[in-house]
Amino acid sequence: MNLLLLGMNHKTAPVEIRERLNIACTEDFNPLGEILAIPGVEEALYLSTCNRVEILVRSREGGGAEERLRELIFRHGNLSGAELARCLYVYRDETAVRHLFRVAAGLDSLIMGEPQILGQVKDAYRQAVEREAAGIILNKLLHRAFRVAKRVRTETGVANHAVSVSYAAVELAKKIFGTLGDKKILLVGAGEMSELAARHLLKHGGDQLFVANRTWERAVGMAADFQGTAVEFPRLGEVLREADIVITSTGAPGYILTGEMVAAALKRRKNRLLFIIDIAVPRDVDPRAGDLENVYLYNMDDLQEIADENMAIRKEEAARGEEIIAAETEEFLAWFDTLAVVPTIVSLREKAEAIIAGELERAEGWLRNLRPEDREEAALLAQAIVNKLLHDPMTSLKEETREGAARAYVAALRRLFRLDGAGGEKGEA
């Protein structure tokens, strides 16, 4: 198949080296032109993200494509030979296919199962298509990779469990409220993490945001940012009656929401469910509030623990993803095999036709002595013998294709009949 994949990722290369190589993180840079210029390279894909650089090419048999690609990386990254050897991985054919599938499905990512990488692979493919760097094989391979990624995401839980604190909060909110469409959020205090959580909640449908802060100006400023409503700090108890999700992250030394406050608010809100996320350290909310019926109180440690446990779940799910990828790799190779069989049969037949034509031409002299009908008979006889001779090997080859083991037969046939002249090459391309 002559697929060759060279690359480095966050596991194999330290960030300084990746930085040097992937200017693409900051600039629009794509060396596809240079890669295609390497003799023997017929199709190419260049993928570069902040965590990885991958070059996938399909080259003609023989030729030093790998060396030239190494040189290219060497030059671009300004790397020493030792660094390059340490960081670079090289995959061929089957392993290259598997690696591409794993990357697209997010199984090779720093955060297991993260979805962005699929978009990045799609971008890389789009660029390859635009520059006409993708042909039959890469087209098929990449589309297959997209399908595999989708399967892994939907059939396993590898992307399902929130692995960041703020997403864990969103997931919990959904388990409590179903949809967040009509939910009011109260943000108490400022902080990167709490604002991120609020942003996620709003993005997932949160209806309205209240912002409370000890400093009124700060509250007003943040409310403007989020298009929410600023609330004076002493009115916290009142807003607690309205809000469904409360995020606290003040620097206060004591509890700003006591058990009594929450209990009183709960009564006035007719026991509607209340989800309190306490991101502050030291804590802002009296833990006794969490013992109240219909109140769900999570602090920073709870959320972090959930995110960690979810990561462990994702890793378990990844094992199922690997099974899907193994099966899909197998299937892709089988498809590739059928691709090789048809041209082989064609070139075999072409060779036979050429031999018949040649022999008939050489026999021209004595054939001329025959009657025209006999001359035709002789030509048909030659044709029949050749057809009979080729019939069995060709049928066997087709059968083997169905059983997925044709590669060895194709290779043997090509060697035995010396098909890999100009004709064979043409057939495969």
Binding site: E155, G157, N160, H161, A168, L172, K174, K175, I176, F177, G178, K270, N271, R272, L273, G290, E293, N294, Y296, Y298, D302, E305, I306, A307, E309, N310, I313
Partner: protein, 273 residues
Amino acid sequence: MDFYLLLYRLVLVAYLISTLAYMFSLLSRRVTPAKAATWIMAGACGLHALFFLGQWATRGYNPFLRLNDSLSFFALVMAGVYLAFQFRTKTRVLGVFVSPAVFLLMIVSSVGIGGPLTAPETLQGGLVSLHAMLSVIGEALFALASAAGLAYLIQDGLLKRRKASRLMKLFPPLRDLDRINHICLLWGFPLLTLGMVAGSIWARTVWGSHWQWDPKQIWTLAAWLIYAILLHQRLAIGWKGHKSALLSVVAFVVLLAAFLVEKYFFTTIHQFY
């Protein structure tokens, strides 16, 4: 073989498969088997309706006067209403409580299938049918309310534990369960009430009095009172969530006890039921 018997067996097998698929979903902590289970259950429910209505129409007798047919109707209402909820909110795993109940009801109801009418001739009439039908629908809705309540209690416990779990992921959101609980109570209560009123009017025409101190009447009234309190607290005081879920499970246990206790320990004018 009799067409209806064949249909009945088909329904039974389909409910069984759907039950097993739901169980598998719960054990493997995956939602895919539950999705399949839902569709199988929908198919079973459709055939079940065909079976029930077909028998009613072709055999020309009143299905609400026989215990086994009433149980089958109970199962049909439960399955149908559950599926209606399921297609509106994605509460798939709730089926893990509903489908076994439906299956068991169908097994029990199969005992007397095709047998003679169990109710004496004197008790036949439109009002008795209405009494039986409304009561069965009301009780089936209460059964669903308690299933949703049970699922609520489990999910509530998981959320209070503050740990990541696949089970939490699998179980429906609290609010959806609470809404199912709410709607089932809201519809079940008036239907059961009407059913009881119809029964009592009929009782007066037969026995001369609305109330016979029959054990079934007493138990049912007790359960009815619990539901009345529950609904009142819910609507007026705002007993949402945990309390309402817990009480609807308790109330249903009482209702179930009413059925079993009077069946095995008392003689009752409801003995054919």
